[in-house]
Structures are given as structure tokens and as C-alpha cells.
Amino acid sequence: MSTASAPKLTRKDFVTDQDVRWCPGCGDYSILAQVQKVFPELGVPRENIVFISGIGCSSRFPYYMNTYGFHSIHGRAPAIATGLKVSRPDLMVWVVTGDGDGLSIGGNHLIHALRRNVDLKILLFNNRIYGLTKGQYSPTSELGKITKSTPLGSADHPLNPLLLALGADATFIARTIDVEAKHQQDIIRRAAEHKGSAFVEILQNCNVYNDGAFAALTDRETKADTQLVLEHGKPMIFGKNRDRGIRLNGLTPEVVTLGNGVSTADLLVHDEHDPVIAFLLSRMAPPEFPTPIGVLRVEQKPTFDALMNRQIEEAKAKFGEGDLEKLLHRGDVWTVP
């Protein structure tokens, strides 16, 4: 990415002239605000940034970002973004998707983008519902969810986005929450900095069709007890009084209260580079556990786009810049006088 002589941008530079058409009170507003806030800091010229989305409330995002944007079709954004990033490695490419767009119809493109480690920043707005189509359950809705399409409750065990990303061997996996402005900004920044596929699940309230899905996690009263804020190299502590933590019992994590012989030293220390810790974290969920937020995993691996472009450079180095006339005449040719 050319970051050379970028003039200093401000938040307003990333705002478009389009009316934002989400429902009043939708969690998407906050996400938009945080992204617009962080972007000037990235030092990437606006014209070198592209947002690609699928279909869903979340996927309207590109219209509101004053960068290049492509609001495509349901579930296909990672595929479109892959083609763009591979052929234009100079661009910074973001994908915005929803739990339906990215995990239901688009699940396959998502896991393939992740396993290839295409240098895409993928923001998945997880509201555990289909917003745009007015309230059917999604692959992240809890078992037994009563929605328009499941009046007797859903019979599907939900997908765990972070676990799935780990299953696809993603090199950057993180989770944040719509209303946690500061935390979200940090995660967006970290994702932007990661070289490779960055997968970020953003828990997002749909106040129309799934209001309060994350209430326990965001209520000022309870959040200290329900959020486990991850910090690399730091023990896993949470709770209003910072007196609770995660300890390993064999290979099984458990919640413990500090004191009574349990000290910080007994707690699991977060290590973004340890896949087993990422695995343990991705499976921690209420009511038994707090919900981990932060960066679960970071790994460095060559990116797909870089490898693809390296092949082109190597081929040029080896065979020279292609000469069509020569190529056409290659092989068994003959001349009729």
C-alpha cells in the first residue's frame, strides 16, 4: 500500500453524502463511527481503500464510507475481494459481512479466503439474526430460537464464528462489541495492521429483530462480569472487582475467584500466538464463562496475494516479460510459401 505522501485525513473525509439508512438505534451506527474514526490514523490514502460487502443490513456499510466500494451479492464478498486483492496488491481491501451473509450463504468463500490467507480485513457484524429480510434466525442464533421462520424454535446447533475461523486456520482472529467504542477501535487498528486475512467478529445489536441479544455483555451493570478482555501476555482476569479469572484444570478451563489460595500466578496467561489458547477461548461462552473479547490469535504466514504476485515476478525474471508474437510462433509451426 502506498502510504507515502498521504495528506492528513480526518474522520469527515470518510463520510459520504448518502443518508445512512439503518434503523434508528441499530448497532451498525457505532461500528461505522469507529471505523471512520480509526481510518485517518491508518495513513492509507482514501483512494487506496476498498470496501466490499455482500447483502444484509451490515452490507450497506460501503455506501457510507467515502472510499471505493462495492455492494455485491449475498455471501460473495470474500470471492470478489480475493480477485481484487490478488490483482491489485497495492489496495487495502476490507470486507463487511453479516452472520447470514458471511456464515450462511457465504460460509465457503469465507473459510477459503481465510485458509488462503488473502490479505483482506473481514468485519463480520454478528447480530445473530437476519436483519434485512426482517427477522429469521441465522447460523449464530441460539438453539431453540423463536423467529418468523422458526415459530416453534430453531433446531440448529449454532455455528461459532471464531471456532470456524480457527478451523479454517485463519491467521488473525478477534472479537469486539459494537458499543465498546475504544475496544473496537483498537481491534480495527490491529486488523488493519495484520498482514494476511484478519477475521473480526463484531457483536452487534439489532434493536428491531433481536434486541438485547448481547445485553448481558454490554449492560454497564453486568459487563465487567461477562466480558473477558484479552491482553497478550496478561493473565485472564475479569469481574467488577477484577477478582475472577480463568485457570486451566488439565486441559479444561474453569472460572476461579482470586484469593483463598488462588493467585494471579495460577491463571492462564493470554498468548495470541498459541493456537490451543485460541481454541479454548473460542469455545468459552456464557453462562459458564465470560465472553472473551480482543485478539484471540495472530500468526504470520505468507499471504496468497503475495505468493501469486511473486509467481508472476519470478516468471518474468525467468522467462522475460511475455512476448506475444514469439509465443504464438512457439512449437510446431510451418510455413506455406
Binding site: E47, S72, I73, A79, I80, M308, H329, W334, T335
Partner: protein, 619 residues
């Protein structure tokens, strides 16, 4: 006196023939495709015009000796212009009973039949589902039968090389090629050269194959079995440099050439599928031409990635066959809505569903025209011959870029694998493909259209001041912002139609092969070109007012086509489907055209078309 390629004077008399159709058939492991290709090269260098038709089994490697494991390659070589790989066979070489059983029906009465004696064992006959031995029951009586001890003599010839039996067996095809090369006076040097190049790292195998070839040649010359050999004189061929090319290679080169001329990287997003995969394989070797080849997770990602690349300013293309076309439909519709250039190539095979994947058909035309929801008209272009795939692919890119539209390119499984000599064009003679990315922010609107083409501007992300958003929702006519305004929608639907109509300005006047008015006009498209051309020619030579129009542009249709049709009494539309172009022409011109429809997974014979023409002229 002619000398044979080994330098010895020819001993036997030579009969001249205008043209010969020969087929090599054997087990898939017998190397029949290679034999056919080499025989083709020899014929081409002998100055003949040629047409070829490979026929693979559907199975990867069927058990030896089975009927469904037979692989064949047909060559038509001639002293006149060749249009097809030929109808019935003048000569048939079979390596085993299964090959005999599946191919004999195509041999002309009194045709030459060469077979390997060693393979007609009881067990092989059983595998071929023969209840009686065809060599003995009189069923070959009407042919010139030449039993050749292919296995035996090859074994003998290679004896002192001490190769494992398996390797020896692998040389039998070159022995057979040697025999046939002698029989038809083909030069064997090209094959010798090929063997030397191919096996340069394996001198033993090289030697074995060279010996087998030579042994076959000598066998023809020296044994009593053939009373004479045959000669087919060179054809009157336009001067220039040629190469033999299959449709899939030509398609790959056409795309490459177009991107080269446009000065842009080429991005192929594709998912393997028979018979399209070779275009991917081919393009994957051209990375030094700024070619990106991306084997995607499925067809949707294939076309999606190509569209993403097009958004980024590359020449985006995708290749597939029928089943993949279904899956790409939604993304093609998106491309139509966002008006980005993109070429979608459908290398048609016999359907419906998985159908017969290795067999050609022309039954995806209506899908190409209408296979998307909503009103999403697109240009559709078809290639007529293997070499023509080059120009069709090139033209598809040119139209896509000029008019900012996805274009559908149709070829088929026959064109894909068949080959013909191709007069190589000079790169400088290829049409220009001019791309001007918009860079000026002044007065910029994403959907502001060029007046003559109705194309919207192509903007590369990375261009300062032109940041904008596109998408699949209906857009305002000028700004491209989302719009649900009723009249705006109608205007947008109609302008997308008008853009198609504009493309007629790029279509050259329709070439009428034959008189420009008369009794019967035969209209075709795609790979039926050769069969139709040859059939029509027969009647023209008899002075009949029969003409042939072969359509490259299926949408939009050429502006002059209606006028041409009106000047003929009758219209015949031969297609390898149930009458798809026929429907289009009937609806468009209200002409009572009739269809000749063959849906057997193989091309028309010239005779089949000729018979129908004759009937229509009589009626």
C-alpha cells in the same frame, strides 16, 4: 520417383486420393490421442488441409479392453479445403476388439481396416462383449482388412533393448503410426523429431519409440500385405506461417492477446470442469505475461474473483461448462448491473445436468441469452472453428471493454479438443483495444455514459478524487446512487437494452457464403460451421441457390440479418440442440425457419445436413 523418408526408393505403386478420413482407436492407455496428433502434424507438413476430432472415454482410466475405455482420434486430410474431421472413415486402425466394436459402424464399405492380431484373444473379445469372433464370422467381409502383427513385431523390434514388457507395449502406437505413415505417404521426420524432444531425458524410451516407428514404416514398405500406398496431394493453402491449434488453446491465446493489446493484466478466475479446464491449464503457463490464474473454490468464486479483478482494472475472465454457468448466473447479473467488463466462457457439453461431460452440445444458447433473473441482456458471441476461438475470445474482450459490459463467449467440447491449422496473425494486425481509465474528477458520475457506446466510465480504485460505490441495487441513471424511482428503473432497464443495440455498430456486414438470395438459406452458429459449410458447398457446386450464414454474434443479432433472411424462400437452422437459435430467429424475424436437430453428443456429419438440404430443395 518419390523417395520415402528413410531415403530408400519406394517399391510399391502409389494411388492418388483427394482426401482421406482415418481414425485411430484403442484403449485409453494405448496412446491413440498422441498417435492422432502426430499423424496430424505429419499431414500438415505434407501440405494437406486437415480437420481432427479426438474422442476420449468418459472414464479416467477404464479397465483395459472395455467398450467404455476406448479412446479415438480422427483425422481428415485433403488436397482441397477441409471443413470437418470427416463423416465416414476411409481407414480405421484398431488396437483391440473393443475399439473395433465401437468404431466399425463408421467405416465406409470397402474402407481400410487395420487391426492388431495379437489383441483378438478370447478374453478381449469377451470384454468387448463379442459373442462371436468378428474376424471369423464374416462381419468384416465388406472391408479391406489388414491384420497386422503390431504387438508381435514391435516386441521383436525392441527385443535387444531389454525393456520391461509394459514399456514395449507402450511403443505399439508408434509402430501403428509408422505403418499408416507409409500407407499414406506421410513424412515421419516430424514424429521422429517429436520423440527425440519428448524423451530427451530418457534415451532408452526414445530409442524404443523411434525403432517402433521405423519398424512400422518398413513393415508397410516391405511386407506383402499392402499392394499399394496412397497419396493425398498438398492443398491450396494461403501462404503464411501456421500452427495446428485446438479450440481451448486458441481460446487461451485469444484472451492473452486481448489483454496484451489492451496493455492490462489478465485475471482468470475459474474452477476446473470438463471440457473447459485446459484453458485454465494453458493460461497458467503464461504468468510472465501478467496473467493471474486463480483456481477458485467453486464457479461462483471463479466469476466473483474475475469481477473483483475487473473492478480493479484488469481484464477479468472466467471459463466453465454448463453446470458452472448455472452457478455463475447470479454474479453475471451483478456484473450486468454494475456494468463492468467481464468475459464468461461456456465451453458447452451435453446436458442436462451432468449429462455426458466429454461430449459436445450446443444447448446452452438460451441459457446464455436468458439464464438470469430480471432483464439482464448481454452480448453473446460464438466461435465457429478451433482456430476461430482465438478471434472470438479476442472479440469478446474487445466488446466487453469498449461497451463496459459482461460478454458471454460460447464454444463447445468439440471445438475445445479438435484442432486445425491456424494461419498465425501478426500481433500488430490484431484490432486495437483501447482502454482509458477515467482519472478526471471534474464532472465525474459513475453512470455518466459515453454517447456512442453508452458505456459508463471505468475507474481504477487508487485514483484520487473518484472514490465511489457501486452495487446490485437499482441505480440512479446518472449518479449511480441507489434509486427506487419507478421511471428511473424503466430508464435503466431500457438503457441497458439500448447498449446492446449499440453493439450492432461493431458487427461487420454479414458474410453470405453463396448467392445473396435464393432458395434456401442455412443459418448456423458455433461448431457446426464445418459441417454446414461442406454440405452447402456440395449444392453450390451443383449450381443450387443455397447459401450459408454463420452467426458469430447471437446477441445482438447483426442489423442486416433480417434483410438477408427475407431474400430466401426457406431457412434451415441445423443445431446440436432442440432448436435454440431457431427460436430466436423465429421470434425476431417471424420467419418459418425449420430446425435440423442432432443431440447425440457428436457433431453433424456433412451428409446429414446435405440430406436435409436436398429434401428442402425438393419439397
Amino acid at each position: 520417383m518419390a523417395t520415402n523418408p528413410i531415403g530408400a526408393p519406394l517399391q510399391k505403386p502409389v494411388q492418388e486420393r483427394e482426401s482421406v478420413v482415418i481414425r485411430f482407436a484403442g484403449d485409453s492407455g494405448d496412446g491413440m490421442q498422441l498417435t492422432g496428433m502426430q499423424f496430424t502434424t505429419e499431414s500438415v507438413l505434407a501440405g494437406n488441409d486437415i480437420g481432427t476430432l479426438p474422442d476420449f472415454p468418459a472414464e479416467i482410466r477404464a479397465p483395459a479392453g472395455t467398450l467404455y475405455g476406448v479412446s479415438a482420434f480422427q483425422v481428415n486430410f485433403s488436397s482441397k479445403n477441409v471443413y470437418t474431421a470427416g463423416d465416414d472413415l476411409d481407414a480405421l486402425v484398431v488396437m483391440n476388439p473393443a475399439a473395433l466394436k465401437t468404431n466399425l459402424p463408421d467405416l465406409k464399405p470397402n474402407g481400410i481396416l487395420i487391426y492388431d492380431t495379437a489383441e483378438f484373444t478370447e478374453s478381449n473379445l469377451k470384454k468387448a462383449e463379442y459373442t462371436q469372433n468378428p474376424l471369423e464370422d464374416g462381419s468384416l467381409d465388406k472391408y479391406q482388412v489388414y491384420p497386422v502383427e503390431i504387438t508381435k513385431i514391435t516386441t521383436l523390434a525392441l527385443k535387444d533393448l531389454n525393456l520391461p514388457n509394459r514399456s514395449v507395449m507402450r511403443c505399439r502406437n508408434f509402430f501403428a503410426l509408422g505403418v499408416v505413415s507409409w500407407l499414406f505417404n506421410r513424412p515421419i521426420e516430424p514424429t521422429q523429431k517429436w520423440i527425440k524432444e519428448r524423451f530427451r531425458r530418457n534415451p532408452e524410451v526414445m530409442e524404443a519409440n523411434l525403432r517402433a516407428l521405423q519398424a512400422g514404416y518398413h513393415y508397410g514398405e516391405n511386407t506383402e500385405i499392402f499392394a499399394s500406398s496412397y497419396e493425398v496431394k498438398p492443398a491450396p493453402i494461403a501462404p503464411g506461417t501456421y500452427r495446428n491449434i485446438t479450440g481451448n488453446t486458441a481460446t487461451a491465446l485469444g484472451f492473452l492477446a486481448a489483454a496484451y493489446k489492451a496493455g492490462l493484466p489478465l485475471f482468470l478466475g475459474s474452477y476446473p470442469i470438463t471440457p473447459a479446464s485446459d484453458v485454465l491449464h494453458e493460461l497458467a503457463t503464461f504468468k510472465n505475461f501478467n496473467v493471474y490464474t486463480f483456481q477458485a473454490e467453486d464457479e461462483i468464486a471463479g466469476v466473483g474473483s474475475a469481477l473483483g479483478a475487473a473492478f480493479g482494472g484488469a481484464i477479468g475472465i472466467t471459463t466453465t461448462a454448463g453446470p458452472g454457468m448455472n452457478l455463475k448466473a447470479e454474479t453475471i447479473g451483478l456484473a450486468a448491473a454494475v456494468e463492468l467488463p467481464l468475459v464468461i466462457t461456456d465451453i458447452q457439453r451435453a446436458g442436462p445436468s451432468t449429462g455426458m461431460p466429454t461430449k459436445p452440445e450446443q444447448a446452452d444458447l438460451l441459457q446464455a441469452l436468458y439464464g438470469r433473473h430480471g432483464e439482464a441482456p448481454l452480448p453473446v458471441i460464438a466461435a465457429a472453428t478451433p482456430a476461430d476461438c482465438f478471434y472470438a475470445a479476442f472479440e469478446a474482450v474487445r466488446i466487453a471493454v469498449k461497451y463496459m459490459t459482461p460478454v458471454i463467449l460460447l464454444t463447445d467440447g468439440y471445438l475445445a479438443n479438435a484442432s486445425e491449422p491456424w494461419l498465425l496473425p501478426a500481433v500488430s494486425d490484431l484490432p486495437e483495444i483501447k482502454v482509458e481509465f477515467r482519472t478526471d474528477p471534474h464532472g465525474f458520475f459513475p453512470y455518466l455514459r459515453d454517447e456512442t457506446t453508452l458505456a459508463r466510465p471505468w475507474v481504477r480504485p487508487g485514483t484520487p478524487g473518484l472514490e465511489h460505490r457501486i452495487g446490485g441495487l437499482e441505480k440512479d441513471y446518472l449518479t449511480g446512487n441507489i434509486s427506487y424511482a419507478p421511471l428511473n428503473h424503466e430508464q435503466m432497464v431500457r438503457v441497458r437494452y439500448r447498449k446492446m443495440a449499440k453493439i450492432t455498430q461493431d458487427i461487420p456486414p454479414t458474410k453470405i457464403d453463396g448467392p445473396d438470395r435464393g432458395k434456401l438459406l442455412v443459418i448456423g452458429w458455433g461448431s457446426t460451421y464445418g459441417s454446414i459449410a461442406a454440405a452447402v458447398k456440395e449444392f453450390q457446386e451443383q449450381g443450387k441457390a443455397v447459401s450459408h450464414v454463420h452467426l458469430r454474434y447471437l446477441n445482438p443479432l447483426p442489423a442486416d440479418l433480417g434483410g438477408i433472411i427475407a431474400r430466401f424462400d426457406k431457412v434451415l437452422v441445423p443445431e446440436m440442440n432442440m432448436g435454440q437459435l431457431l427460436r430466436v430467429l423465429r421470434a425476431e424475424y417471424l420467419v418459418d425457419a425449420v430446425g435440423l436437430n442432432k443431440i447425440q453428443g457428436r457433431p453433424f456429419k456433412v451428409a446429414e445436413i446435405a440430406a436435409r438440404i436436398a429434401r428442402m430443395l425438393e419439397e
